[in-house]
């Protein structure tokens, strides 16, 4: 006899099997795992401190000990890079989580119950979407004051319309399917219909949006920090590291200041997007890989 647990694992093992065959996604998952392990475990294991300055050695070029050299204040560029990656991932994931918590239920209500929910929620989405979000974020950050948490929360709140809109759209298309009507016909409750019919069939666009939003939240944080309105020094973030590298001398003479953080940012954003693509394909039961 098969238990319920077994059944679920068989569905997800199927998904996992399909995901493993997606070569780019697997490669990117490898890169992301490597990056996450690196930024999480290397600094504490080696006892590295991002604020520790080596006096009198500012702008020292890379050598055997400091592989990316030292910055203006004599801090280790490599350690700051790892901490910057940490900040980026933290801000990206937490703010996307906030967006999901706000956006998904609202989109569900708008698409499933329609009526006044639809009008109010979707018009709010429109209002949020017509403002350039970067400018709004700048305004809110300057009101609340820049810090890692204010930036995370504001980016998270500003991201909800993306989820609401995508969930609304896919809920609309799923709700019109006959299998949802068949659920009504057997007397299923709204909760059951949303849980077993709507959400599982609307999950792919939510996942894809999650990856895109995480990637763009990371970029937004980096832009804010670059502008000096995001994560404040001495806390390292990929954005304020790049901000530090703005001088002509650094740009022309010290590429190890800005190429590694730029590449790290690029790898994080690209990998997340490709992982999302792989997940989307793997979660679709009609897709035979």
């Amino acid at each position: 006899m098969k238990s319920v647990e077994n059944k679920h694992s068989s569905y997800y093992s199927d998904v996992f099997r399909k995901f493993r065959r997606h070569k780019i996604a697997m490669f990117c998952l490898g890169i992301m795992t490597f990056i996450i392990i690196a930024v999480l475990f290397i600094p504490p294991l080696l006892g590295l401190d991002p604020s520790k300055a080596t006096l009198g050695k500012s702008f020292q070029e890379p050598d055997g000990i400091f592989i990316l050299g030292l910055d203006r204040l004599g801090r280790d560029n490599f350690v700051r890079l790892l901490y910057g990656g940490r900040t980026s991932l933290l801000v990206g994931l937490v703010s996307t989580f906030i967006s999901i918590i706000i956006g998904v239920p609202l989109g569900l209500c708008a698409g499933y119950f329609r009526g006044p929910f639809e009008v109010i929620i979707m018009r709010m989405v429109d209002i949020f979407m017509v403002f350039p979000s970067m400018i709004l974020i700048l305004v809110f950050v300057s009101i609340i004051g820049p810090s890692i948490w204010s930036v995370t929360i504001i980016i998270g709140i500003m991201g909800w319309p993306n989820f609401a809109r995508i969930v609304y759209g896919s809920v609309l298309s799923v709700t019109s399917k006959e299998y949802v009507e068949s659920a009504h016909a057997i007397g299923a409750s709204h909760f059951r219909i949303i849980k077993d019919y709507i959400l599982p069939n609307a999950i792919s666009p939510i996942l894809v949006t999650t990856t895109y939003r995480t990637a763009s939240a990371i970029l937004e944080e980096a832009s804010l920090s670059y502008l000096g309105m995001g994560v404040q020094p001495p806390t390292a973030s990929l954005g304020n590291i790049l901000n530090d590298a703005q001088s002509i001398t650094t740009l022309t003479m010290r590429p190890w200041f800005w190429i590694p953080p730029g590449l790290l940012l690029m790898f994080i954003v690209l990998s997340i997007n490709f992982i999302g693509d792989g997940l989307r394909d793997a979660l679709d039961p009609k897709m035979k890989v």
């Binding site: 059944k7 299998y179 009507e181 007397g187 409750s189 077993d196 599982p200 039961p285 009609k286």
Partner: protein
């Protein structure tokens, strides 16, 4: 019509509002089902035929309460389904089920066949043990002629005919009395069609089911029905036993439909009645008899006399809604 029917449809209307403009004001309504009276006896199959868009499916869905009717009553075993509160309607759903037209759209692609079939039991008999649940599912699979290892697979692994059997199993697991079959075979290959039709018929015999069978295919309806109703623009224009209707169609629309059935004998001269014009918009139906704009036998008072709700009994149990038989 008999007064001890399992299901009585009284003056049922389902109108869909047409909203326009920023404020979504109602500017009109589509009269999909307009004052329909039918009754279905225990154990019989009532077939409904009609063109696409004449309101066949809306009629069935309104009967089941999947679409809230605008007016009228549906009595199931004497109980009014239309004004039931949500809780009672949910338990009523055990006795009235539906099989959909498109087997590729009517099964949740993210659920295993076992869960699809067992779900009604989980909802209405949540105390049932897992073992019992499983044996019921296996029993149902056997009943509809699918091997029992299908339970652990997903719907996309099955063909259209098999999926339709799964739909039937899901509809039957609560032992319903009434099943609304919404063109259950029109999406299937011709070769599979008769198998599914025969399954539907045998199940009726074995389980004493009552069917409302909708189709636009006259030969399918003829094969399965006891009585047949012909729908045109939201109204029933003729209602009779299968033999009466096919041998002696009375309404001009029914006659035109019958003349369109292909005959597999080139020597029999075909006398097609070709209807002029298009089907009028149900948002703005013609006055009087709905069919008078296209009727070959139209008379001068056809557009003035309201034929809604007026069924003339021409012979025993043969009703027609036409002035010619007044």
């Amino acid at each position: 019509m008999s007064d001890k029917g399992l299901l009585e449809v009284q003056d049922l209307c389902t109108y869909f509002p047409i909203n326009k403009g920023v404020l979504r004001q109602k500017v009109g309504e589509v009269k999909a089902v307009d004052h329909i009276n039918i009754s279905i006896d225990q154990g019989e199959t009532l077939g409904i035929v009609g063109e696409s868009g004449c309101g066949k499916s809306t009629l069935g869905r309104s009967i089941l309460g999947l679409i809230k009717p605008t007016g009228g009553h549906v009595l199931f075993k004497g109980e009014d389904v239309t004004n039931m509160d949500f809780k009672k309607l949910r338990s009523m759903r055990q006795q009235m089920q539906i099989v959909f037209q498109d087997p590729f759209a009517s099964l949740n692609p993210r659920m295993l066949v076992e869960d699809i079939i067992a779900e009604p039991l989980r909802i209405h008999e949540s105390s049932l043990s897992r073992n019992k649940l499983q044996s019921r599912v296996e029993q149902m699979l056997e009943l509809v002629g699918i091997e029992s290892d299908a339970a652990n697979r997903y719907p996309h692994e099955f063909s259209g005919g098999q999926r339709q059997r799964i739909s039937i199993a899901r509809a039957l697991i609560m032992n319903p009395e009434f099943i609304f079959l919404d063109e259950p075979v029109s999406a299937l290959d011709v070769s599979v069609r008769s198998q599914v039709l025969n399954l539907i018929r045998n199940l009726q015999k074995d389980l004493g089911l009552t069917y409302l069978f909708i189709s636009h295919d006259l030969s399918v309806v003829r094969h399965i029905s006891d009585r047949v109703g012909v729908m045109y623009l939201g109204t029933i224009v003729e209602l009779a036993s299968k033999n009466q209707l096919f041998n002696n169609p009375l309404h001009p629309y029914t006659k035109a439909l019958m003349s369109a059935i292909p005959i597999a004998n080139p020597n029999i001269p075909i006398n097609r009645i070709i209807l002029e014009g298009d089907i009028p918009s149900p948002a703005n139906p013609p006055s009087g008899c709905r069919f008078h704009t296209r009727c070959p036998n139209v008379r001068k008072d056809c557009d003035k006399t309201d034929m809604l709700n007026r069924m003339i009994e021409v012979e025993r149990d043969h009703y027609v809604s036409c002035l010619l038989y007044k």
